[in-house]
Amino acid sequence: MASVALFVAVFLACIVEAVEALTILLAAGTRGWRSALIGGAAAVVTLAVIVALLGPAISAIPISYLRLFVGGLLLVFGVGWLRKAIMRASGLKALHDEDKIYAEKLAAARAASTEKRPLVGDWYAFTLSFKGVLLEGLEVVFIVLTFGTNQHNVPLAALAAGCAVLLIGGLGIAVRSPLARVPENTMKFVVGVMLTGFGIFWGAEGAGVVWPGSDGALLVLIPAVLAVSLLYVKAFAPRAHLVEDVAVEEFE
């Protein structure tokens, strides 16, 4: 059960971040594909270096401290994802819209001046693509490392992330436009619920708690977090004043 949950959580989180990175990459690509692709590739290499440096360091932490640290981190991330997802689902915040975000990025990319640097034809396209892929990928790297080391299965977490990147990369090449049809808002909700559930479970275990039902507690914990979150959506919906302006927030 835990392996399936690990795969699903990492896969969904990675899909969401990959879709957002693709939107930025496509906008940067309109100025010059070479610079945009070099920027994206440089970001992937940087992420790989971070994994190579942090992976062994995290693995060296004793399991109880690891669970305390990882649980706390996942809980902070999870509550953040869930809070935004609840605000979007209830109407307190505009839904994440890849088409509109792409239009904004495209307008900014077209307005920016061209600056040439060695090896890179267009510095703006390079940095836009590099920052986009790096920042979207960083959270996935943390999720892969924390879930993977806790479950003693980093390869499975990496496989889930790899599958997601290949899927979105393939779709991106085929469609060559932002993947607005991917149900990002729903997926963010699910990832938020799973990060929060696992964060609670591992954080409490790291603090010395013995869960009633052992690992089976997750089967109650995750549905309970989902149920309460859905109740919050219902509770906040009447207070929502429709948000007309589009939330074009950087890298969220």
Partner: protein
């Protein structure tokens, strides 16, 4: 120095995000759970779930208020 400041701000934004109360409450919740478990001998498995689901509306309210 400005590079160091930017680096610190990036990690603050990445981990803490737009509401520091969440991170502070999670750290306090973990510490309290450890204290109850190791010092008072209470198996406080219920504390973090209550804290997590309680934090969400508080954080939403704070973000709405600050808009």
């Amino acid at each position: 120095m400005s590079w160091l400041k930017s680096f610190g701000l990036f990690w603050w934004d990445f981990i803490i995000g737009d509401d520091w109360i969440v991170a502070a409450a999670v750290v306090a919740g973990l510490a309290l759970t450890a204290l109850l478990t190791h010092v008072a001998g209470v198996n406080a498995w219920w504390l973090l779930p209550i804290l997590a689901v309680g934090l969400i509306p508080i954080s939403i309210w704070r973000l709405q208020r600050d808009r």
